[in-house]
């Protein structure tokens, strides 16, 4: 009889540790496939191409007869490096590898939260105990409230280390801000040897509004954020900020506080104190940054659950790091706030508080651009939708 274990509970209730213990327990399966919250724990890290990643896991011979899970065709992507896939695509690749492997069990720690609706439905359908996948599955998913038909719920009480996190209080004392409009015209971009991501995209983003970037996995949502911040340069088109030409890819980011999907992609120091000191130094000429003294940032960090600014970031749990990744954007240092999948890995309480904080930011005049596949989270925020697809962006 195939087992389906759904771990339920708030952040820091010990769900991840309990799931890992189950996966290591020989009674669940001799060996399990594991998809962690981010790419480092979703893919093997042993392959330089997608074809090799699949080859490493492919069962020889294909004995178990899992149904192959392939919501996207990886054949045209075979020569690409796995790390160049979007977060959601990496999760799909991991699931595809599992479906070709000889593993009899699978553990997924919040990774399905990165999938768009169609892919998420396909993945959950694949794991449905009433369907033909006969292996055992352990799952943590903040957007799948128990009970679920066919799933056994393991409910974990709130942990003793529950770190209080209230983003609403972080933005409570912020002063009004007039975020300058960002205008993009005829923007084009393609990755080297990759497909066209954007072609002749034009759009205008006004301060005091929240915009949701929506689109399927791999459409280019994170790419747009990288373009606006200056991590990558467009192949054509122009950007203006408050009506003046803006070249973040040449002169550096001047206006946007970004929280990345994987929080570990944004730290520029070993401790939060290091990270914030470097940000303050880089943006020292901005008037509002000057008012963000270390003591104030320490207080704000406490409101997000950080015991101290001097704590080593990588010694904190992933969910705590994700919360702290919001600190710089929510501190009000810069007029535009961009959040890439902010609700991933966060329990329902924290998600609703973060949504309220975003609403407050827009009311104060900040501009907010966020990426999420979590409709429930997005519905709590009055927003306009920027739909990405077919190399274009349409504002709905």
């Amino acid at each position: 009889m195939a087992r389906r274990e759904l771990f339920s509970g708030l952040n820091f209730s010990g769900r991840s540790a309990a799931m890992l213990a189950l996966l290591r327990d020989g009674s669940f399966a001799r060996e399990c496939f594991y998809i962690g919250p981010y790419a480092e724990a979703a893919l093997s890290g042993l392959s330089a191409t997608i074809a090799d990643e699949i080859e490493i896991y492919r069962a020889k011979p294909a004995s178990l007869g899992h149904t192959a899970f392939a919501p996207i065709d990886f054949a045209p992507l075979a020569r690409r490096e796995p790390q160049t896939l979007s977060g959601g695509e990496q999760v799909l690749l991991a699931l595809h590898c599992f479906s070709l492997s000889s593993y009899a069990a699978l553990g997924i720690d919040t990774a399905l939260e990165q999938l768009d609706r169609a892919n998420r439905d396909a993945a959950l359908d694949y794991l449905d105990p009433r369907k033909d996948f006969a292996g055992n599955v352990a799952l943590i998913d903040n957007r799948l409230p128990p009970p679920q038909v066919g799933w056994h719920t393991i409910d974990l009480p709130a942990g003793a280390t529950d770190l209080d996190c209230d983003p609403r209080r972080v933005v409570a004392d912020l002063a009004r801000q007039i975020a300058p409009a960002i205008a993009v015209s005829d923007l084009g971009f393609r990755y080297a040897r990759g497909r066209q991501i954007f072609q002749d995209v034009s759009l205008s983003l006004e301060g005091g509004n929240a915009y949701r970037l929506a689109g399927p996995n791999g459409a280019g949502k994170t790419t747009l954020l990288k373009l606006l911040v200056g991590v990558i340069a467009p192949s054509g088109g122009k950007l203006t900020l408050g009506g003046a030409r803006y070249w973040p890819w040449r002169h550096g980011n001047r206006a946007i506080a970004l929280a990345t999907q994987n929080p570990d992609h944004q730290w520029c120091g070993a401790t939060l104190a290091d990270d914030l000191a470097r940000r303050r130094s880089a943006f020292a000429r901005h008037a509002r940054v000057g008012s963000l003294a270390k003591g104030r940032l320490a207080k704000l960090a406490q409101l997000l659950g950080a015991p101290s600014l001097d704590a080593h970031l990588y010694e904190l749990p992933l969910a705590a790091r994700k919360r702290l990744s919001w600190l710089w954007p929510l501190a009000g240092a810069l007029p535009w706030v961009m959040l890439d999948e902010p609700s991933i890995g966060q329990d329902v309480n924290t998600r609703s508080r973060l949504a309220a904080a975003i609403v407050r930011l827009t009311a104060l005049g900040y501009g907010v651009l966020f990426v999420t596949h979590d409709d429930d989270f997005a519905d709590r925020i009055p927003h306009r939708v920027l739909a990405i697809g077919d190399a274009t962006i349409r504002m709905n």
Partner: protein
């Protein structure tokens, strides 16, 4: 031709180039390499030449600046304590750089001959013990991890306003932060895998199965032509250098 055959032929050519043949020997070597490129590599030869130029030209410029521009004498002239000339220094630089150019080109030719293989297929096709192949995969994985860490660090530092995408004095001043961030990222990526993913899946054991086989015959096909030709060329070069004939 097999991958092992290509590596063996490349190894012979590189060994001969390093041995420092005279002009006639080097000419034979060039003919051998050109034949290999035309028959086995074809159009990708230009890619090999371009890549070799990218590696060697900056080095040649630097060496030229030092030896021809500053020193003004060849090392042999310095050893013999004679005045020397810049022309001799230039010949010295050219001889070293040409040989290096040749070596890099030959390596690229051998690799490009099998450009259709993925890295894993490439390693699988090598005639090596499985342990050595696993070591190669792990080394490649380490390189990928570092590249990934560099990407991550760039995103972090550019978004934080510390670096810019283009070359700037700010980037030079803060380069040590980039190094520190890359290092932190690489360590956390590696730890993320080694703490949870690999032990639960026993992922490294999968590697053995993934890299074994693929080399039922160490040499086959055109190897039987290229290896004797290369060895023959080696004999010709050695004879030409040992018995240089009347001057």
């Amino acid at each position: 031709m097999t991958l092992n055959g290509a590596i063996a032929v490349a190894f012979i050519m590189i060994a001969l180039a390093i041995a420092g043949p005279g002009p006639r020997g080097f000419a034979v070597l060039l003919v051998l390499a050109a034949g290999f490129a035309i028959v086995e590599v074809r159009g990708a030869t230009w890619t090999a030449l371009r890549r070799a130029a990218v590696v060697v030209v900056p080095l040649a410029a630097f060496m030229g600046f030092i030896w021809v521009g500053i020193v003004g004498r060849a090392p042999a002239e310095i050893a013999a304590d004679v005045p020397g000339t810049r022309a001799a220094a230039l010949i010295h630089v050219l001889s070293i750089c040409l040989r290096l150019f040749f070596v890099v080109t030959v390596i690229q030719l051998a690799v490009l001959r099998f450009a259709h293989l993925t890295p894993l297929q490439f390693i699988r096709a090598l005639a090596l013990p499985v342990t050595a192949k696993r070591l190669l995969v792990l080394t490649l994985s380490l390189i990928e991890t570092l590249r990934h860490a560099i990407d991550r660090a760039h995103i972090a530092l550019i978004a934080a306003g510390t670096l810019t995408r283009r070359f700037s004095s700010r980037n030079v001043i803060h380069s040590w932060r980039l190094v520190q961030t890359v290092w932190l990222s690489a360590v956390t990526i590696a730890l993320g895998r080694m703490r949870d993913k690999w032990p639960i899946e026993n992922t490294l054991n999968l590697l053995e199965r993934a890299v074994e086989g693929g080399n039922e015959k160490i040499f086959a096909g055109d190897d039987k032509i290229w290896l004797p030709v290369s060895l023959g060329a080696a004999v010709v070069i050695l004879v030409a250098d040992v018995f240089p004939g009347p001057s």
